[in-house]
Symmetry: none
């Protein structure tokens, strides 16, 4: 396979509200096995558009992947259209039908008749099992071309591609690989990261093989992606690893992960290793911090729980914050944050307490404490507290607050 074309199917992808992101995942996976994209298309639920798109793509690319349109509804026509373009008849596969029926039965439901079409298979096609949904994928070999039909939902598409398509492409690719490393950074702005990383870039470009870099910023987190191409994978990996080390030297402990782990995973691993448990008290983030921590599988080993103290009287009754302290300093203040962290640590019998109180907006700012003012405290054998001034709308302020709180705990655990 030398070049690939991706066709995303679905009228919703032609509205101003939704964009095809499956192609980013697929482009990354294909890049790993040395296959470049020659193009991408998005078509709606008009069958003739899909027919033209598949036929045109098969003329230009030796691998064509469609995403979406394998569902049970009358709009879902990818299976039928692909068979039509290739002149293949469709027959019902009894085994697929059984699997779909069993899936419904396990939830105490009867399979609706509409789902029956998901068991139709074009002659000669390979069925790609879908453990995460009803629609199986299909791989159709046609002359010297490969047409792969994948379901639209990413959590169905991704494991299916990795388990049933990638191994075959890897086998057939023979040689060139793209390898990649990601440094994850928090507590610095994009331009601060660029400034620190800039002197290293010439070293990276001069490496053998040369290393390409990309910077990606989201609220509370910056990622530096390094990638290099070559057929000697060990040499590529060595070059990348020394590039990662050079950037770590330049960026210091702002780099929290070079192995793909999220900030909450890094914090969880540190807590587990030190046999410590954490509890959180949240005001303006209202549960987002605990939501991120408990997103990690197995987090019950190191998260005790916490209190969402959105109202002031709850800060007082449930966390033991002093009435006078709120009256004197205000709810968004360092003394209150410290008492919240200490209070939740004691109440929940945790080793570490962490607290967030702030002004996320859109209302509630003042000259002294404008929107984006957020105070974060940690309590352990001693307490630490810091006031941040974040920029952005309510979701951005909340996400930056959670990242800063996680980073405070990480730094405490690294001391």
């Amino acid at each position: 396979v030398r070049s690939a074309h991706i066709i995303a199917v679905g009228s919703e992808l032609l509205t101003p509200h939704k964009i095809d992101t499956n192609s980013l995942f697929l482009a990354a996976r294909l890049e790993e096995v040395g296959i470049a994209l020659s193009g991408k298309s998005v078509v709606g639920d008009e069958q003739v558009d899909l027919r033209i798109a598949i036929a045109t793509a098969l003329e230009r690319s030796d691998l064509v992947i469609t995403t979406g349109g394998l569902g049970p509804t009358s709009d879902d026509l990818t299976r039928e259209t692909a068979a039509d373009v290739l002149g293949l008849t469709l027959t019902e596969d009894a085994q697929i039908l059984d699997t779909i029926r069993a899936r419904f039965r396990s939830r105490g439901m009867t399979m609706p008749d509409a789902n029956r079409k998901q068991a139709m298979v074009p002659r000669g096609a390979t069925v790609l099992p879908n453990p995460c949904g009803t629609a199986p994928g299909l791989a159709i070999d046609t002359r010297d071309r490969l047409l792969v039909l994948l379901p639209g939902p990413p959590r169905e598409l991704q494991p299916m591609f990795d388990a049933h398509v990638l191994p075959r492409l890897t086998r057939e690719s023979a040689g060139q690989r793209v390898r990649r490393r990601v440094l994850k950074i928090t507590g610095r702005s994009e331009s601060m990261v660029e400034q620190s990383a800039f002197p290293v870039y010439s070293t990276l470009r001069g490496a053998d093989p040369p290393i390409a870099t990309t910077i990606l910023a989201t609220p509370g987190q910056i990622e530096l992606h390094l990638s290099a191409v070559g057929s000697d994978i060990d040499a590529v990996d060595r070059a990348l690893d020394s590039g990662v080390r050079a950037l770590q030297d330049a960026l210091g402990d702002a780099v929290f992960s070079v192995d793909g782990r999220s900030l909450e995973q890094v914090v969880g691993d540190l807590l587990r290793a030190q046999r410590k448990k954490i509890a959180a008290a949240e005001s303006c983030t209202g549960g987002l911090l605990l939501g991120r921590l408990t997103d990690v599988p197995g987090s019950s080993a190191w998260v005790v729980g916490g209190t969402i103290a959105y109202a002031n009287d709850i800060k007082i009754s449930e966390l033991g914050v002093g009435v006078d302290v709120i009256a004197t300093h205000g709810a968004v203040s360092e003394p209150v944050a410290v008492q919240m962290a200490e209070g939740v640590r004691q109440r929940f019998r945790a080793d570490i307490g962490v607290a967030i109180t702030g002004v996320a907006g859109p209302g509630g700012g003042s000259a002294e404490k404008p929107l984006g003012t957020v105070v974060i405290a940690t309590a352990a054998h001693r307490s630490q507290v810091r006031t941040f001034r974040f920029v952005g709308d309510r979701p951005m302020v909340r996400n930056q607050s959670v990242a800063a709180a996680l980073d405070s705990v990480r730094r405490l655990l690294l001391e």
Copy 2:
């Protein structure tokens, strides 16, 4: 103009890290004047791919817009390729050349020779001035089709489209507009929604003007999008509104919003109207429910806070769940959920308490309570409780749990 196709040009748009977003801006603008997208394509810097894309799009759509590839480098081939597809000769436009030269001069620079090609114009094309960059756009009328070439950078493309393309499309659309309605549904699967909605579809397609539908599913929520085109906006709106009513009749109170509001906003508005306050006790969702509730600006008026009781002893000490109740029924059980909801309601002095306890996985399931078993309780003047069996991985189970909890509160408030 009835339908449009957008072609984004640029190899960087075929990498895993960059996505075409110009098409979202263009889709929104086109929708305003009643033009629907029939498709989108992304091509790299291979001229033959672009040639095929333009020719195919012109066969299917009466408006084709390209973005990018108008720069001065040898990779920038949109202008030449478009002229080639249409069989038009290119000639140098003296006035454009002067404008580009003046632009460089104003910055104390001499125009590089490479930029000369940006002054080339296909015969009969209309030049679209670019006050924000060197590359002018081009509008080419060909038979009954319109081909528009726009520069790639959004800050050049957007003002150019608004000043020089949109007015013409508005004039030619003769008042045609696309209007849209969205029904948001929870507590039903995609195929259940389809089954209930199916009998209404023929009414919708037979409406005047006809109504098109799209269904979008995410964990815990289904959206039905209705859209219709027409020049009499009141008639279009009336048709859509009666379509919405017909679907509401078919789907009942599973429809929680027809005005764009999220489930948490609907719950918040009900609480505000009834002057009630809510508190939540979360186990397996670990703060996600409160995180969603407090995502709503102004939620401090109706959210008191809550307790994240991830560990069993916290359910006992902080929520007053009976030791014996956990011992007898297990932490994931209806009696425990009810005590959690009642406990947080009392402790936080709220009008309504809501509680979630369940097995989100990946570990922790049993034969009796497999992964995905989630119990949700509400407590007010009396308590209600229900056990769910959700399908999916940890994030899916958690998201479905939060949606089900919000829906339980909504139903309680509607009683």
